[in-house]
Amino acid sequence: MSSHPPTAPAGEVPSSTSPAGPARSEEPLPQATTPVPPGLTWRQRLSRIDVRFSPYLYISPFFLLFLVIGMFPLIYTGYVSVHEWSLIGGKGEFVGLDNYRAVFEDRYFWRALRNTVSIFLLSSVPQVILALIIAGLLDTQLRARTFWRMSILVPFVVAPAAVTLIFGNLFGDRYGLINSAIGVIGIDPVAWHVDTLASHIAIASMVNWRWTGYNALILLAAMQAVPRDLYESAALDGAGKVRQFRSITIPMIRPTVIFVIITSTIGGLQIFTEARLFDNVGLGGSDRQWQTVTLYLWELGWRLRNLGMASAVAWLLFLFIVMFALVNLLLSRRIGGGGKS
C-alpha cells in the first residue's frame, strides 16, 4: 500500500555536522549517547527553517512600522521636551527640564489638568453606570434584540466632530434647545459656555452620548457569558431580580467593568475634539474653563508654536494616564471585593 518514495535519496550528502543551525537553543541536539540521526533532506531542512522563522516574518511588518511610527516618536518626544524647540525654527538649545518647569509654573496647565479630571469623572462615572443599566435591560429575552443593540450603538457612528457641533448647538447659552427645554420647566438658562462646571457637563455629555451604548454592548457581552444556571440557582435560592443583578451579575462581570473603566479613563484623559470644537475659538473658553490637557498641548505646540513645552506636556500626560489606570485598577479591585482570597 505504501505509495511513497523512499524519503532519503541515496545521493543525499549526509552532513556529519548536525543540521541544527539556529535551532540549537530550542531543540537540543541529540545527545552523544543516541545515534546521530541520518542527514535531513534539503527539503526537510527548509521546512525546519520555515517553522522557526515564519512567526517572526509574520509579526515583522507590525513591529517595523510600529518602531517607525510608534516607538521612535515616543522616545523622540522625550528628546524634544528637553530642548527649546519652535514650531518653525525647529530645534534650539538644550534646556534640560526647563520646559517641564515652565509647564508646572503655568497656571493654565493646572487648570487644564483640573478640567481634564473633572470632565473625565463626569464622563466615565455616569457612563459606566448607565451602560450597566442598559446592558442589564438588554440582557433579557427581548424581542428584536438585534434592533435594540444596533439602536443603542447609533451614536457611535457619529464622529466626535459632528457630535460636538450638534451638541454645541444644543448647548447654546441663550438660544440652545436645552436651555429652552429647561426654561419650560422654569429653570434659568445655564451658561454652558461660561460656567466651568456647566461646560464640563456639556462636554462630558457629548462623550457619554457617543460611548455609553458602546460600553453597554461590551458589558452585555460579559453578562451573557454569565451562565444562566447561576441565575436559576439564585432564583431558587430566593434572590429577586435586583438582588440577582447585585449578587451575581455585577461580581461576575467585574473584570469587564474594570476593563471598561480603564478604557474610558484612557479615553477620558485624552478628550480633545469635544473641547476644541465647543466654541469657534478653540482654546477652551475665555478663562480656559474647558481646556483639556490635550487641548493645552495643542495650544502650546501649534498656537504658541513651542514644541518643546508641548512635548513636555505629552510626557506628563502619559504619566498621568499610567497613574490613573493603576489607581483605577486598584480601586476597582477593592470596590469589587476581589481583595479577599
Binding site: G70, V80, R149, A310
Partner: protein
C-alpha cells in the same frame, strides 16, 4: 428563566434609543431649515425642505467632495492594511510558538495604553521632513498597523482556530504559509471583517491628527466640518447639514453591517 421582559424594560430601552437618536434628528431638523431656525423660541419638530439647498451650500463653502474622497481613500486603505498586517501578526501571536512571543505580546498590549497625543510632535516633525504633511500619506502611514488590531485578531484567533487544526494541516503536509492560507485566513474572516469596519470608522471619525497634518485646503470630512463652524459667524443650518452629510456614509455602512459591528464589539469584550 423564560419570562419575557415587561413594559418597564421596553419603555426604558425606548427612552434610551430615543436619546441616542434625538441629537441626530435635531441636526436633521436644523440642517433642513434656513439658519433662522436656531434662534426660534419654539423650534420646529419636523425636518424642513431646505436640506438640499443647505447641502449645496456646504459643497460650495468647503471642499466637501474632496473631503469625502480623502476620507474614503484614507479609511479604506488603512482598514485594509490593518486587517492584512494584523491578521498576520495576530495569527502568529495566537497560534505559533516562538521565542519571545509572550514578551512581544505584552509589549503590544502595553502600547494600547499610550495616547496618540504622545507621539504627535515627533511624528509631525517626521512627516514634515518627509514632505508628507498635507497629503493623505500623513494620515495613512501612521495607521497602516494598529496595536489594537493585533490584539483583537490574536484574541479572536486563539479560540477560533483549534490547535489541532493547525497540527492536522502540518501532518497533512502544509508549509507554515500554507497553514496561514488554508487554515488561518478562512477562520479569521469574520473577525477580519469586523476589524476592517472598526478601523474604517476610527479613521473616518478621527479629528486630532488630520487637524494637525492636513491643511484646510485638502481636508478630511471632519476637518471640513470644523471649517464650517469656524467662520466669523456660524450658520448652524449649514453646519448641522454638514454634520448629517458627514455621518451619512457611516450610517449607510452601519445599516449594512451593524449586526457584525455589534457582534464584533461583544466578541472583543468577552475575550478581552
Amino acid at each position: 428563566m423564560n419570562r419575557r421582559p415587561g413594559f418597564l424594560v421596553y419603555g426604558l430601552l425606548t427612552a434610551f434609543v430615543l436619546g441616542s437618536a434625538a441629537p441626530l434628528y435635531w441636526s436633521l431638523i436644523v440642517g433642513s431649515h434656513d439658519k433662522s431656525v436656531v434662534t426660534q423660541r419654539v423650534p420646529p419638530f419636523i425636518p424642513g425642505g431646505e436640506f438640499f439647498s443647505n447641502a449645496q451650500r456646504v459643497f460650495d463653502t468647503v471642499e466637501f467632495w474632496k473631503a469625502l474622497g480623502n476620507s474614503l481613500l484614507v479609511s479604506t486603505v488603512c482598514a485594509t492594511s490593518v486587517v492584512f498586517f494584523c491578521t498576520l501578526a495576530g495569527y502568529a501571536f495566537a497560534k505559533l510558538r516562538f521565542r519571545g512571543s509572550n514578551a512581544l505580546m505584552v509589549f503590544v498590549v502595553a502600547t494600547l495604553a499610550i495616547p496618540t497625543q504622545l507621539g504627535v510632535i515627533p511624528l509631525f516633525i517626521q512627516m514634515a521632513k518627509l514632505g508628507w504633511t498635507g497629503t493623505v500619506w500623513a494620515i495613512i502611514v501612521p495607521t497602516l498597523v494598529t496595536a489594537f488590531g493585533v490584539f483583537f485578531m490574536r484574541q479572536y484567533l486563539v479560540d477560533a482556530i483549534p490547535d489541532e487544526l493547525i497540527e492536522a494541516a502540518r501532518v497533512d503536509g502544509c508549509t507554515m504559509f500554507g497553514i496561514f492560507r488554508n487554515v488561518a485566513i478562512p477562520a479569521a474572516r469574520p473577525a477580519a471583517a469586523i476589524l476592517w469596519l472598526f478601523t474604517f470608522m476610527t479613521v473616518w471619525t478621527d479629528f486630532f491628527w488630520p487637524m494637525i497634518v492636513m491643511p484646510s485646503t485638502n481636508p478630511t470630512v471632519q476637518i471640513a466640518l470644523q471649517q464650517l463652524q469656524s467662520g466669523y459667524y456660524v450658520d448652524y443650518a449649514l453646519v448641522l447639514c454638514a454634520a448629517v452629510l458627514s455621518t451619512i456614509p457611516l450610517l449607510i455602512l452601519f445599516v449594512l453591517t451593524g449586526r457584525q459591528l455589534v457582534a464584533g464589539i461583544m466578541q472583543g469584550a468577552v475575550k478581552g
